[in-house]
C-alpha cells in the first residue's frame, strides 16, 4: 500500500486534492476495500495530498484486480489531460482457507504443509519433550526435531530411486525415534542419527514393504503392489495386484487376519475370506484404505478414500465390515483435494494422510482418527 501511495503521489505531482474511487474486478479478492481506502488516504495525506469530493485537482481510480501472480491494485491517475497507471502487488493473508469442521466420527489434524510433494511422514516421540518429524519426499528424507514444540533442528539427506514413476509411492517405518526406514521405487533407505543424520540406500531385493505384521510386494516401477502378502512366518497369501489392502486386527476385532480387502487395479474393492475367489466386492471405494481400531465398537473398521481422480476433492469414509457386507458409518470427511497416500498409523488407532490442497497447491500431511463421541 505504501508503494502504491508513493506512485500515486508521484503521479499527482503538484495536485493538492484528489477524488478517490475504488472498484473491484476480481471476484474472489480476500481484501477489504474499506481498509484499502482508509490506508491509502492516510498514506497520501502524509505526502501532502488530500481527498476531496469532485471537483478535485486529480481523479484517482483504484481497482482491485488479479493477475497471474496474485492480487494487484491498479491505480489510474487522471490529471488534466494526462493519465498514468500504477500497478502494485497486494500481499493477502497467508492464512489457510478454513478447514471444514470435523464430521461426526472422523477427525483430521494437519501436521505439516509444504510445496514439495510428500510421499509419507512419521511423527515419533524421542522423550517427553522431544519429538521428531520425518518427511519422505521424492528425492530426500527430511528430519525435523522439536523440543517442547519449538523446532530445534532440520536436516535432509538424499534418497536414491531405482525407477522413475509418475505416481511415486513411498512408505516410512520407524524402529524408534532415531531409526527410520524408507521404501520407495525399488530401494530401501535406512536413516539414523549417529550422531548426525545419515541415510544409506540399497536395492530392496525382494521388493518387500513392511506393513505392520505382514509385508507387501511392491511393483517398483509402478504404483501398485503385486498381490502377494508375506506373513511373519514367511507364509505367503496371493491376491490380485492391488493399490492398497486392509485386514482386521485379531486383537481388537476377534477376526482372523485371513480376511482381507484389496483395492484392485480395476477399481474394485474385493473382500477375501480365506479363498482365492472374492466373497464380495464393494462399490464406489477409492484406491486407498487402512484398517483402524477406533475403540468405538468391536467390529472391523476401515477408512476408505473416495473415488474420482486427482483433479477433484476427496473424502474419507469410515466403514464397518460385518460378515461379507460393508456399512458406511456417518458422513464422509471431505478434503479440499485428492488423498495421495493413506497409511496406517503406528498405533493402529489413527491413519497418516497425504493430500494435496487444490486451492493452495500445498501438500498436506495429517493424522486422521475416529471419535466415538458423536
Amino acid at each position: 500500500m505504501f508503494t502504491l501511495a508513493e506512485k500515486i503521489s508521484a503521479a499527482l505531482g503538484t495536485s493538492h486534492t484528489f477524488a478517490l474511487e475504488l472498484n473491484e474486478v476480481s471476484t474472489v479478492a480476500a481484501i477489504d476495500p474499506a481498509s484499502i481506502r482508509q490506508t491509502l488516504e492516510d498514506d497520501l495525506a502524509l505526502r501532502g495530498a488530500k481527498p476531496a469530493a469532485a471537483p478535485a485537482d486529480a481523479q484517482v481510480q483504484v481497482t482491485i484486480s488479479q493477475n497471474l501472480a496474485g492480487f494487484v491494485l491498479v491505480a489510474e491517475i487522471r490529471r488534466q489531460d494526462a493519465q498514468q497507471v500504477a500497478v502494485v502487488p497486494v500481499a493477502t493473508s497467508d492464512e489457510l482457507p478454513p478447514q471444514p469442521g470435523p464430521e461426526p466420527g472422523i477427525q483430521r489434524k494437519i501436521v505439516w504443509q509444504q510445496a514439495v510433494p510428500i510421499l509419507d511422514f512419521l511423527q515419533v516421540s524421542a522423550d517427553s519433550h522431544r519429538m521428531l518429524l520425518y518427511f519422505l519426499e521424492p528425492d530426500r528424507l527430511v528430519a525435523y526435531e522439536f523440543d517442547d514444540g519449538a523446532q530445534v533442528l532440520r536436516d535432509a539427506q538424499p534418497v536414491a530411486r531405482r525407477y522413475p514413476s509418475r505416481d511415486l509411492r513411498g512408505h516410512l517405518i520407524a524402529t524408534d525415534a532415531m531409526h527410520v526406514s524408507a521404501f520407495l521405487a525399488g530401494m530401501r533407505c535406512d536413516a539414523s542419527w549417529n550422531p548426525s543424520f545419515s541415510v544409506e540406500c540399497r536395492e530392496n531385493a525382494g521388493q518387500q514393504w513392511p506393513m505392520g505384521t505382514v509385508s507387501w510386494t511392491s511393483s517398483p516401477a509402478r504404483n501398485y503392489f503385486q498381490g502377494s502378502i508375506t506373513f511373519s512366518n514367511d507364509l505367503q497369501a496371493k491376491f490380485p495386484p492391488f493399490f492398497s489392502s486392509a485386514s482386521p486386527s485379531p486383537e481388537t476385532t476377534g477376526l482372523s487376519s485371513s480376511r482381507r480387502i484389496v483395492a484392485g487395479l480395476d477399481g474394485q474393492a474385493e473382500l477375501f475370506v480365506g479363498n482365492a475367489e472374492p466373497a464380495s466386492n464393494f462399490e464406489g471405494w477409492g484406491s486407498d484404505m487402512v484398517s483402524i481400531a477406533s475403540g468405538c465398537g468391536s467390529a472391523w473398521q476401515v477408512l476408505v478414500t473416495g473415488s474420482g481422480d486427482w483433479t477433484e476433492k476427496d473424502q474419507i469414509q469410515l466403514y464397518e465390515i460385518r460378515d461379507r457386507g460393508a456399512a458406511a458409518i456417518g458422513e464422509p470427511f471431505e478434503l479440499t483435494g485428492p488423498i495421495l497416500a493413506l497409511w496406517a498409523g503406528e498405533d493402529g488407532r489413527s491413519a497418516r494422510v497425504i493430500s494435496r490442497n487444490l486451492e493452495s497447491g500445498m501438500y498436506e500431511a495429517s493424522m486422521v482418527s475416529v471419535s466415538c463421541s458423536n
Partner: protein
C-alpha cells in the same frame, strides 16, 4: 457413550454389494489406448519442418511435445523423436498416427500404453464421435462448447488464451489512414461477437493480454462506439472501401469477419470480406485481416513479447523488444502503445475447449503454452 454410538450406528447406510457397474478408482492405473481425433492433416513430423497451415502447425507442436523431451531456445524440439513420453509406433502421413509409451522415460512411464490419433476429422465428426464414445479426446471449436455440453459430452475449457485481432496490412491506402483504422475499430461490437458467434465462450478484448494474465485488461475499452465511428468516417474525404480478409479454412474467422461487416455498415463504413488462401499471397488484395494468436506462455511479459514478435511483420508496427524485467505497468504501457494506433484491433479472447470421453481421468486443462498432458492421463476401466 455406548448409547450414543448405538444411535449413531442406527443411522448408517448399508453399502450395496454388487459386482459390475461403474468402476471407481482414484490412483492412476496403467494401460489402454487413448483415442484422439484432430481436424488437422499432419503431413510431416520433421521437427525442423514448417507448415503454413496454422492448424497443422499447432497439431505438430502438440504431437512433438509428446515425442520430444527437450526444446531449443527458439521453441523447436531438440534431440531424437521418442526421447519424450511416447515414441512413434505407426505413421500414415496425413491420416493416422500411433504413439506407443516410452517404457524408459526418465520422468516416469506414462500411464497410457498408446495414443491413436486420427487426422482430418471435421468438427462435426469429432463431436459425433465424442457423443457415441468412439473417441476419448477431441478439441472443440469454442463456439460449439455450449451445444456440445448440452448434448451430454464432457467438456473441459481453459482460461482464455487465444487472441483474435484485426490487423491492418501496412502499405495499403485504407490501412495507412489513421481515421479509417480508428473508425473501423470503434464500430466493432465485441460483446455481440462473444454473445452470438462464440455463444458466450470467450471475452471481449480491448488489449492484447487477458485480464487473468497482467490484471490490467479492464483498463482497455471494449465497448462499441457506432456514433463516434460514423463521425470519424464522415470526416474522411474520399471514403475508401475496406476489404477484410480471413483464413479460408477458418469458419469462426469468417463468422467474425461477417459480423464486423455488419457493424461497419451500421456506421456507414463500406467493408467487404474475403477468404485468404493458404499460403497467403505475397501481394495481398485485402486492407486488413483477422489473425488468431495463441498465447505461448501464461506469463504476461513472455506472452506479450510473442504477440509483438508476430504482429510486427504483419502490421508494420515499430516496436522495440520488451525488457526481460518489464513491470506490470510497462507491460500495460506497451499494450496500450500497440493498440492505440488502431493498426492492431484486439477483438476477443478465446479459451481452448476439449471434449473428453467418460473414461479419461486426471485430465488437467493445459495452461497457455502447454501441450496436451497425455503423459499424466489414464483411462478408467470400463464397466463389464
Amino acid at each position: 457413550m455406548k448409547l450414543r454410538w448405538s444411535l449413531f450406528l442406527a443411522a448408517i447406510s448399508i453399502a450395496v454389494l454388487l459386482a459390475g457397474g461403474a468402476r471407481a478408482s482414484r490412483r492412476p492405473r496403467y494401460g489402454g489406448a487413448l483415442r484422439v481425433e484432430i481436424g488437422a492433416v499432419v503431413r510431416s513430423l520433421d521437427p525442423a519442418g514448417t507448415s503454413p497451415d496454422t492448424e497443422e502447425a499447432e497439431a505438430r507442436s502438440e504431437i512433438g511435445a509428446l515425442l520430444y523431451d527437450q526444446r531449443n531456445s527458439d521453441g523447436t524440439f531438440a534431440g531424437v523423436a521418442g526421447s519424450g513420453a511416447f515414441h512413434i509406433a505407426a505413421w500414415e502421413s496425413g491420416k493416422h498416427l500411433t504413439l506407443a509409451v516410452n517404457e524408459n522415460y526418465h520422468a516416469g512411464r506414462a500411464f497410457l500404453d498408446s495414443i491413436e490419433i486420427e487426422m482430418g476429422r471435421s468438427a462435426k465428426d469429432r463431436l459425433l464421435d465424442l457423443e457415441v464414445g468412439k473417441t476419448d479426446f477431441a478439441e472443440i471449436p469454442p463456439e460449439e462448447a455450449r451445444r456440445t455440453s448440452e448434448r451430454g459430452v464432457r467438456v473441459s475449457t481453459s482460461k482464455t488464451q487465444e487472441l483474435v485481432a484485426l490487423v491492418f496490412v501496412p502499405g495499403r491506402p485504407a490501412a495507412e489512414n489513421p481515421r479509417v483504422r480508428e473508425a473501423l475499430g470503434r464500430s466493432i461490437d465485441r460483446t455481440a461477437i462473444v454473445n452470438f458467434i462464440l455463444q458466450k465462450e470467450g471475452e471481449p478484448a480491448g488489449g492484447l493480454l487477458p485480464q487473468w494474465s497482467n490484471g490490467t485488461a479492464f483498463l482497455f475499452s471494449t465497448s462499441a462506439d457506432a456514433g463516434g465511428a460514423k463521425d470519424l468516417w464522415s470526416q474522411i474525404g474520399a471514403s475508401p472501401r475496406i476489404v477484410l480478409g480471413y483464413d479460408s479454412g477458418d469458419s469462426l474467422g469468417q463468422a467474425i469477419a461477417e459480423r464486423i461487416a455488419v457493424n461497419a455498415r451500421d456506421a456507414g463504413i463500406a467493408l467487404s470480406v474475403e477468404p485468404i488462401a493458404t499460403p497467403a499471397p505475397s501481394r495481398p488484395s485485402y486492407d486488413a485481416r483477422l489473425v488468431r494468436m495463441p498465447m505461448t506462455s501464461s506469463h504476461p511479459r513472455e506472452a506479450l513479447a510473442s504477440f509483438q514478435a508476430a504482429l510486427v511483420p504483419l502490421s508494420g508496427l515499430d516496436a522495440v523488444p520488451l525488457s526481460a524485467a518489464a513491470s506490470s505497468e510497462q507491460i500495460y504501457e506497451r499494450e496500450r502503445s500497440i493498440v492505440s494506433g488502431y493498426r492492431v484491433v484486439p477483438l476477443v479472447w478465446l479459451p481452448r475447449v476439449y471434449g473428453l470421453g467418460a473414461r479419461v481421468r486426471d485430465w488437467k486443462v493445459p495452461a497457455a503454452g502447454e501441450g496436451w498432458p497425455f503423459a499424466d492421463v489414464w483411462l478408467e476401466q470400463e464397466s463389464q
